[in-house]
Amino acid sequence: MGDTLVFQGKAWVFGDNLDADWQICSLETLAELRAGGVPLTAEELGKVCLQPVDPEFGRKVNLGDFIVAGANAGASVACLDGDPEDPHLIGAASLALKGAGIAAVLCESSNMTFLRNSVHHGLPVVECRALRGRVRQGDELRVDLARGAIQNLTTGESFRFSPYPDFLLDMIRVAGLYPQLKNASGSSGT
């Protein structure tokens, strides 16, 4: 196994304002799943991830692929970012992407609550303005999270971004804020 912070996979390209509540993990779909008695796990949410935009997405996506979005990725107007009736589903969009096997979201800019919720769920969101228009559907990308480097292996182009500080890289390594907190409280005995 290589460095856990270097990812390689295929790009799934979307536009501006990719919506957390209606496109990535639709609140309507969540309600349907609940009514059908489906457990709302990352795996189940992954199957319906981005369904309103591309009904086949959950089947076509491969483990380690990337979302490449425009401005305001993870846009949210539902005020809650997730399911108002389930405490475990805050940041449901981030959870769905993770469940679908997405390695990272690369975008021009991000909704900050979406970015924070994603990182807290262990899913990196990388903002890189230079990426706009430089990635096409299906391009093979390589992302080095710690060094702040994106390579488009299909076109040969490279891009830089400001890497996360160490504590957030660590959060990605341990798959989220709560595992990190658990490790910390385990070691300090509280």
């Binding site: 305001n72 475990h88 940041g91 807290h120 804020l177 907190l181 658990k182």
Partner: protein
């Protein structure tokens, strides 16, 4: 080079000079408010094996989202919340439940829990930005809330700021809400993505505190992380009347750097309407005048403060709601309700045959008098997506309380200016 008010607040919170892009660790001495699903943070904390709150005294639980509704798990949520508060040692006086409830952002404003120059957190709701009107950096911690409540710390990447300068003067019948929507129509849903919207200019200076809360409440619709207004004498007077605690306001330097500056001359702006289903498609009221409505709502964290209630009463005084329409008026908090009673507004509402609901988010998210299939509603609530206020086969148009009430009087979308 100067700094923005946000950079100054975060510099002080971090104990060092910071600039956009810096990652800092932050805590807050202010109350943190919880609302709907009071058990949320609890579940996150338990999942992480954290058993104690960093400071139970700072946890303020406000029953804003469920209130007196029978739906949305309200009863269970209250029981769970109470039990959790007791176990965690949250003082009973910090529980703003039925009888002293309200929308958490309105209650937080009523008490000035957020203070100029400080960082203010809320657990789960995107409209926490409302409190930016007090000159605070106000954000929701969302999924990070449980960790914050356990440790008293969170991380922040210092955001860039976008400056919005409003010049001219508000025409008659046009209020803060119309301006907030007008600007949304101009800059769109990514107009300030991930950034802070700093509202400035003579129009903001002249605006009441209630109007300023509305401007900041809208932040997430521009993609912004939060909104903020530089504190002035009006802010100081408002805060000092409500909170005796010490604070030190901060304001932007004249040479502060902004990612972008938008300037809007608002003297020509008319009442605005946001038709379904997109939140950012904004039009002058004339575009939709005459559209029949059978439901109307004055309330929500956008427009449920005393000034909104007074405006509604001005239009309703001596008139009656159209027989085809149910007009729901929901004061944002018990404080607002008390003031309505004191000023005689309640009598006006009741005489006009409006329904006055118990203070909470209520109808804005379908938690009281929900819309049925086929209903057409004009609302001062936050959102117009299908299903927001009940049936997904109902239509929601958004407008100011004045537009809502004028439309409720006529049974069709109406320009309120003829009543003012």
């Amino acid at each position: 080079m100067g700094k923005t008010v946000t950079e100054k607040i975060l510099s002080r919170a971090a104990g060092k000079e910071v600039s956009p892009g810096d990652y800092i660790e932050v805590s807050s001495r202010l109350p943190i408010t919880l609302s709907a699903g009071m058990g949320r943070g609890a579940a996150q904390m338990e999942g992480a094996g954290a058993t104690r709150l960093f400071n139970p005294q700072l946890i303020h639980m406000v029953d804003g989202h469920t209130g007196s509704t029978a739906s949305h798990n309200a009863g269970e949520s209250r029981t769970t919340g109470r039990a959790w508060a007791k176990k965690m040692g949250v003082p009973i006086e910090n529980i703003y439940e039925l009888g002293r409830q309200g929308i958490e952002h309105v209650v937080a404003g009523d008490h000035a829990w957020a203070l100029p120059g400080e960082v203010f957190f809320q657990v789960i709701n995107g409209h926490t930005t409302t409190l930016g009107a007090l000159g605070a950096f106000a954000i929701t911690l969302s999924y990070g809330s449980g960790a914050y409540m356990a440790t008293g710390k969170t991380w922040i990447r210092v955001p860039e700021s976008v400056k919005v300068v409003l010049t001219g003067a508000l025409p008659k019948g046009v209020i803060g809400r119309d301006i907030a929507e007008y600007v949304l129509g101009q800059i769109g849903p990514a107009g300030a993505a991930g950034q802070v919207m700093e509202w400035t200019g003579p129009v903001v200076d002249a605006l009441s505190m209630d109007g300023r809360f509305t401007l900041c409440c809208n932040a997430l619709f521009y993609g912004a992380w939060t909104g903020i207004i530089n504190p002035d004498q009006k802010t100081m007077d408002y805060v000092r009347a409500r909170n005796s605690g010490p604070f030190e306001p901060l304001t932007s330097d004249p040479d502060a750097e902004y990612a972008r500056v938008y300037e809007f001359h608002v003297s020509h702006v008319v009442p605005q309407v946001v038709p379904p289903p997109e939140r950012y498609h904004v039009f002058p009221v004339s575009q939709y005048e005459g559209t029949a409505v059978n439901r109307a709502f004055v309330g929500s964290c956008e427009n449920s403060r005393i000034e909104d209630m007074r405006l509604a009463a001005t239009l309703l005084k001596g008139r009656r709601v159209h027989p085809d329409v149910i007009l729901n008026i929901t004061p944002g908090s018990v404080s607002v309700l008390k003031q309505c009673i004191k000023e005689g507004l309640m009598e006006t509402f009741v005489e006009a045959e409006a329904l006055v609901a118990s203070p909470n988010c209520g109808m804005c998210w379908g938690a009281n008098t929900p819309l049925a299939a086929g209903d057409v509603c004009i609302s001062s609530g936050t959102c117009n997506y299908p299903g927001r206020m009940g049936s997904k086969d109902a239509a929601i148009y958004l407008g100011s309380p004045a537009t809502v009430v004028a439309s409720a009087l006529e049974g069709k979308i109406t320009d309120p200016r003829k009543y003012l």
